[in-house]
Symmetry: C2
Subunit: 158 residues, 2 copies
Amino acid sequence: MTDQLAPQPEQDPSSNAAAGAWDGIAERLRAGGLRWTPQRRTLVEVLRACKGHVTATELIGLCRERDATTTPSTVYRTLDVLEEFGLVKHGHGHDGREEYHVLPEQIHGHLYCEACGAVWEIRPETGAVIVAALEADLGFVIDLSHVTMAGRCEGCRD
Amino acid sequence: MTDQLAPQPEQDPSSNAAAGAWDGIAERLRAGGLRWTPQRRTLVEVLRACKGHVTATELIGLCRERDATTTPSTVYRTLDVLEEFGLVKHGHGHDGREEYHVLPEQIHGHLYCEACGAVWEIRPETGAVIVAALEADLGFVIDLSHVTMAGRCEGCRD
DNA sequence: CTTGCTATTGCAAGAGGTTGCGCTAGGCTT
DNA sequence: AAGCCTAGCGCAACCTCTTGCAATAGCAAG
């Protein structure tokens, strides 16, 4: 189950780009009748320092480093709120566990190799082909980043 | 979160086709040094009566109807064994929960509409396009049936 | 039929995630 | 500066799934 051995793995060039996207949150929350609490502040600080993908468990761990009193339910609920504001987006890894995409700039899908455990990114052009195929078929517009598809990478198919 | 409202939902024409595929299991298990136990018998009886897809939770419930002493860990472990024999195949629903495909005759993917909750099947031809696109891109061979992709169906995209 | 090896079982504990509920405390109003 | 309304918090309980371990029971051999 070891990860990140892929020949062409997770590239994150403009990682924490648009870091300023977080700037107005306190105000944006209040504008919607929501509140800016210490717990939310902690989670947002953690997320600002994240690039790409994080699992919910990792986020809870990181929050606890800053505030040992962090409770899981609060983190999950805050993530739901942030998702409504478009600041994070949740998905499911190959095993169904939750993982969050921070600042989903460029939507891309993921492939998990069941044999070597590596995770690959689907190139945007290929993703576009997939999305187009489904739209042509059923008129369905999919969110390619919601799930990690499983299979076998080039080097692992017997 | 109600399901099965799709205009073109889950069709299962030859549902429990190849029901005979279950016939030799006891012997096949023994041939591999494994054992035929009452618990496995119960689960297989339940599976024989299933068509298409079932969640792990549903299976545990159905087993308990036949044998109230059924324990979850045994069911999960038996499902793993049956999967190695190709009799079932596990995947993950849109929310990451496990679901099993019984007698995976024709591999097909699923789409979940986040708005209306309906589940749609991806037509084999469309699935082939998707698989081909990924193979051409990265040489990756995916298992389209492992996950349920999420998005919005024709009637639900604003 | 009895014996013995070991695959399986059931239990208990634990990890990840969700939910209902009473109390706390943001933050707008006066 | 004080008060009120209610969003959000922490807790406890529950659900799904996994894993380690000791005891049980298939089943093949004698």
